[in-house]
Amino acid sequence: MYIIVVGAGKVGWNLARELLEKEHEVTVIESDRRRYLTVEQELEHNVSYGDASELWVLERAGIQRAEMVIAVTGDDEDNMLICQVAKEKYMVERIIARVNNPRNKPHFDLLGIRPSVSATDLILRLLEHEVPEYGLVHLLDLQEEQLEIIEMLLGKDCGVNGRRVGDLSMPEGSLLISVLRNGKGFVPGPDTILEPGDEVLAVLDPGKEDELKEIFGPAGGNGAGAG
């Protein structure tokens, strides 16, 4: 594949190395002269000097034939602009954007720039995963597939404690895929009885979270299901 990586910082440079090792054709575009010279020593003709926000710089890097553009600069506006232009002007099949400030993620979504990856978000989710509290943790969003994988900790007063998985009224478009108990994970069967302290993983259509929270939240909600 011919891939253009914009930004030769730690992420871009390392990404380029990995992609080259996988035998893709790669051009990295870097706008800082000193950074460019440093990276050029290793990547040679695979790095190009210029501001990738400029359309002629992208054209000089052959964006018309690129199959993928990955924008990993430190600037969210630049990443958005480059990906938008790549997708809509140059019809690049796949774009990936880095989100530096998680608060800008809605803007990436608004402009249709997906997937967009926020390292901060990923780490925050891992933190939550390591120290779960009541509530629902997003582990993974599969944007193309329109699916999420979420995790919930069953508290002491959780309505589904002591119930069979098979008896739960899981909302349509959701599935319990794993239970973590005492440090061990297993795929639950219909006869699995849920216990307080279990961390359950579910895959679901986005928009079903509230229904799921009802079921797995404290008892007293109507969530334990009619079943």
């Binding site: 359309l55 600037d75 506006e77 630049d78 958005m80 602009l81 232009v85 002007k89 608060r103």
Partner: protein, 146 residues
Amino acid sequence: MFILIVGCGRVGSSLARAMLKEGHEVSCLDEDPESHARLEVGLDKAWEDLGGRFTVGAGLETDALVAAGIEEADAFIASTDGDNTNIIIAQIAQKRYEVPTVIARILDPLRAEWYNRQGMKTVCPTRVAIDMLEGAVREGAGRGAA
């Protein structure tokens, strides 16, 4: 009209003052609190006393946009010193807040042209400068040859 101007530099502040004078409601948003001073150049009263609004914040921050009044805006001008910022916030104003009139100042003629074709109202000072300079040079050359 309620006009929201993001970027209170020379262009933004001059536009703000002119629009306020014409009787519109004007709100300015800028990251730099010092830029407020530009709004009061040549005025004998404080900007706020004349009915103007000023908010400190970045155009990409939705809290700041809302505080500056984007939900009520009839017109939105993206006039920061960053082309990409202007292009992005103009689209936020159009697509998320559905502001009826959105204009972006874009210095790069190529980006300005493309986004214009995509339906964004753009003003490109560079294009104007290029055209005027070409005209002036041709005029000079013409006189020289005569």
